[in-house]
Symmetry: C2
Subunit: 210 residues, 2 copies
């Protein structure tokens, strides 16, 4: 039986997760695979081990639950990206670090990222605006890495349009990792990130490997 420090406020790592966490887990799994509209309240409840009525003790509407998952995922991504930005002043090296980060997150947490990337269309009004604003804030970090590279002799980005094109291409290419990467495959996670960083640098025309 596991010993627990009396002063330990966090739950034991092997403890049964509480209802809120189970709901989150179920929604992540089902929204990512079946989609928001393809997932029913009762299906969600069964997966979480609760009745559909109990679900509503923890969440607002089904849409509120989706928005919470999306904002949570994007908040995490933004925090990580802004941390990279803060500690890597050189735009080219920062770009490579952002690629590694984006690839790692999409490979390790495909459900979170797929919900964010694929289910924005089901939102509208203020909820959609809020999520889109977060996504824009994340992409702004990429902009602040790519835009200063325009005219940099180390790369081949002729103008702002080329930088915008490269930004979209890189984001889509790295986001796509969530569509096909399987953790049980032969490719290790770190190698995946390095390979994508190398492809990204070549894509923007970087000559030296460094």
């Amino acid at each position: 039986m596991p010993r627990r420090t009396p002063a330990e406020p966090e739950p034991a790592p092997d403890a049964e997760p509480d209802a809120a966490a189970r709901i989150r887990e179920a929604a992540l799994e089902l929204f990512a695979t079946r989609g928001f509209h393809g997932t029913g309240i009762r299906q969600l409840a069964e997966r979480a081990g609760l009745s559909s009525a109990t679900l509503y003790h923890y969440m607002g509407t089904k849409e509120d639950l989706l928005v919470a998952l999306m904002t949570g995922g994007l908040d995490r991504l933004i925090a990580l990206a802004e941390a990279v930005e803060a500690e890597e002043p050189d735009p080219l090296r920062r770009l490579a670090a952002l690629v590694r980060l984006h690839v790692r997150e999409h490979a390790e947490r495909p459900r979170e990222t797929r919900v964010v990337d694929d289910q924005i269309g089901v939102l509208d009004g203020a909820a959609r605006d809020a999520v889109v604003a977060l996504r824009d804030r994340y992409e702004d970090v990429w902009r602040r890495a790519l835009d200063p590279l325009v005219g940099d002799p180390r790369v081949a980005l002729a103008d702002a349009a080329a930088a915008a094109l490269a930004r979209r291409a890189l984001l889509e290419m790295c986001t796509g990792v969530a569509h096909w990467y399987r953790a049980d495959g032969a490719l290790r996670l770190e190698a995946l990130g390095e390979a994508h960083a190398a492809m990204a640098l070549r894509l923007v025309g970087a000559t030296s490997p460094r």
Copy 2:
């Protein structure tokens, strides 16, 4: 007023499209924006200018309609890709041509490609198998362009794993065009394809522009 050749069998370009075409158009628009489960039969009927009952005179089930859209889109893509393959023997030039083709199709027909790319998850059983088989057949064309490039001194693809990684990266990057490209933007379609071909060649490490 446009003159029409009397022997012309195709419908006049400005004629009212028939019901089947209107259904197809409505389904394309709604499935691409709202998703399959987010689109109701009545919504579909209203968009097509019909009653929901009349819909069933033309289609089988709602799922049959989706499968028809998907197979139609994939058949077109496969035919175009195999035509490129037939007339371009050099793998590197063929890869560039495939990139141009994929980008053009995703920019010009974002609804078709988005339905194919995003809605596979709602299918299961035989229908899913059939669509996945078509998608695999399309990607096989890409495999047959990239795999022979392994070890080719013109590019930097060390082994089969690198080729597979590049294939996925390129497909995702070019597919993503359907997510953001707008025909009314400043970027012309041909320039878009050329830019992506250039990025693709750099991504695989091609040195010469030719």
